[in-house]
Amino acid sequence: MTTPDDPAERATGSAGPDSHALSTAVSEAPESPGGAEAAGPGGRPWVRQLVRWGAIGLTAVLLGTLGYLWYDSRVPSTLSVMDMGYADWGGGAVPVGGHQHAGGVSVAGLTGPSGVPAVVVSLTAREESFALATGERVEGYTLNHASPGPEIRARVGDLVQVDLVNESVPDGVALHWHGVRVPNAEDGVAGVTQDAVPVGGRHTYRFVVGDAGTYWYHSHQVSHEQVKGGLFGALVVLPAAGSDAAGSDAGAASADVVAQVHTYDGRRTVQGATGERRVAAPSGVATRVRVINTDNGPLRVSVTGAPYRVVAVDGHDLHGPSDVTDRVVAVAAGGRVDLSVTPPVGGGAVRVDLGAGSSLVLGPAGASAPAAVTPAATLDLLSYGTSAPVSLDTGHFDRDFALTIDRWPGFLDGRPGLWWTMNGHFYPNVPMFMVREGDIVRMTITNDSGEVHPMHLHGHVALVLSRNGVAASGSPWWTDSLDVDEGESYVVAFRADNPGIWMDHCHNLPHAADGMIAHLAYEGYTTPYVIGGTADNEPE
């Protein structure tokens, strides 16, 4: 370190005659071009030193900046969502007190009703090795020794009670009722609406199901590992007994097949079985196939052998669905579509292809199914079906939020990389969408990040208004898990009618674990739970 200083000292020592130095350097240049090159900019030693130390200084600034960004990115071991990121009021009323840090109603009290439950289920979560329906062994998680866990069926208006016991899941568990508009304390998000249930602990969920449709439940504690490992199951809500819909073919339990698609250890399965799964279905009778995408990527479903109809999306029936023959239907991660499939009267079977070698074959016993043909085109739900009046007034909005997803280099909790941003910020500096009970909310979700993101809002169902400026023209499209692809911009609307603190995150769960988590917060409500903390809550 001292040697390089020598020329500098000499140069300053002889600062006066530097014109000589210059002329010498210039005159020497033709003799030894190598020397001139070595002298660098200006050729004068002091200039060289200035440039060198300037460069070193800039490097120090660069390192200092990187160090600061690294230091600043670290996420505290205990973090309340109430302190996470910044409040976005969406152009609506800002309370006099500003933020609700001063307190508010604890979401812990927003529980389901008391009374005698119509459906009671006990679920015991375990970490164990289990066999798929087709025999392959998987190291993962089970509910009542099975994955997928037990299917829960209820009718509209039923009070459902689920007693969750954690027998052996080391990280703890929490169950989220995906798509169901439960009271906030029943939402099952560790660190937001409850503490993770530790080994030996138990937790009871109680809620009334209000919308007939296809839903699912899954762990919301270390979800990117636990859901992948098998901690999930189906929840089917049938129309209330005696209602009009209960008698129609769409509601009849006899012609109703649940198809949970999940990838275990790199094996795509439907209802826990790899390959082709046969389901007996009479010719000429419509069967409702409830496809649930429990994976992290979009699922493309094709039907070969007969036309099909998409009769519901995310637990909400579509209006006036027409026959589809030449299109696949895409299901966002976490999303559901109900297909109406009718095996042809001639006696053949219908193949519902679920990709990656997995399919359902519906038809009379022994009927042969055609090989899967996967059309290149995808059904556009924006213009599918026919329009109908909706129960949401979209003429005026109390809040107008923007959620823009991008990807930038930086540090996430100290790790360098290219990370997802929400409205330009890395986790945990993410937006907190502030609403007041009763608000009609509009949200514009834009994706510039290069990858598709299945955006999932808890506790609410949103109506799709437009995509890339094109207004929805088909059936009202209600969704809770919406694939927003690269370059797309969706405008959705919902009524803020379910108070509490709700996650609004990407359902590609590794993305969520990498910070694609925002939340919707109602004015006047707060949560006593924290991410991290003594319960080691880690929702994603």
Binding site: A21, G34, G266, R268
Partner: protein, 151 residues
Amino acid sequence: MRSLYIWLSRLIALGVVVQVLVIAWSAFDIYNKAGDGVPFTEDTERNIGAALHSVIGMMIIPVLALLFAIVSFFAKVRGGVALAWAVFGLVVLQIALAFASFAAPVVGTLHALNAFAVAGVAGMAGARAARPDPTLAAPARSSDPGVTAGA
């Protein structure tokens, strides 16, 4: 400092070679498993080759390149600073190209091409630093007297 400069340049070039090895392993592993009917989706675990490629490419080589760029100021290698910072710049470009390739796979060809540039420039810098006799010894002689003469 000069020997550290040389060793860092060699480690970076070696890192590029390792990257080529592991990504080839990863690609053939995918072909092999796909032949056995294993699907590759968003829910597929990355294989070891791909995981190594990611760690070496996103963590190890960038850190080496940054160290290399810093060390270059003190290594007294002719043109060494420019070469070291060129390596650093190429590594940054390499990461950008990698992420661009996920959206547009054909860009991956540029990612591969740029890998040769990283290894080539790092190798060139190391070779220049390791051969002091014809290049550095001469200018050291010619520039020192120059300063003295001026003084």
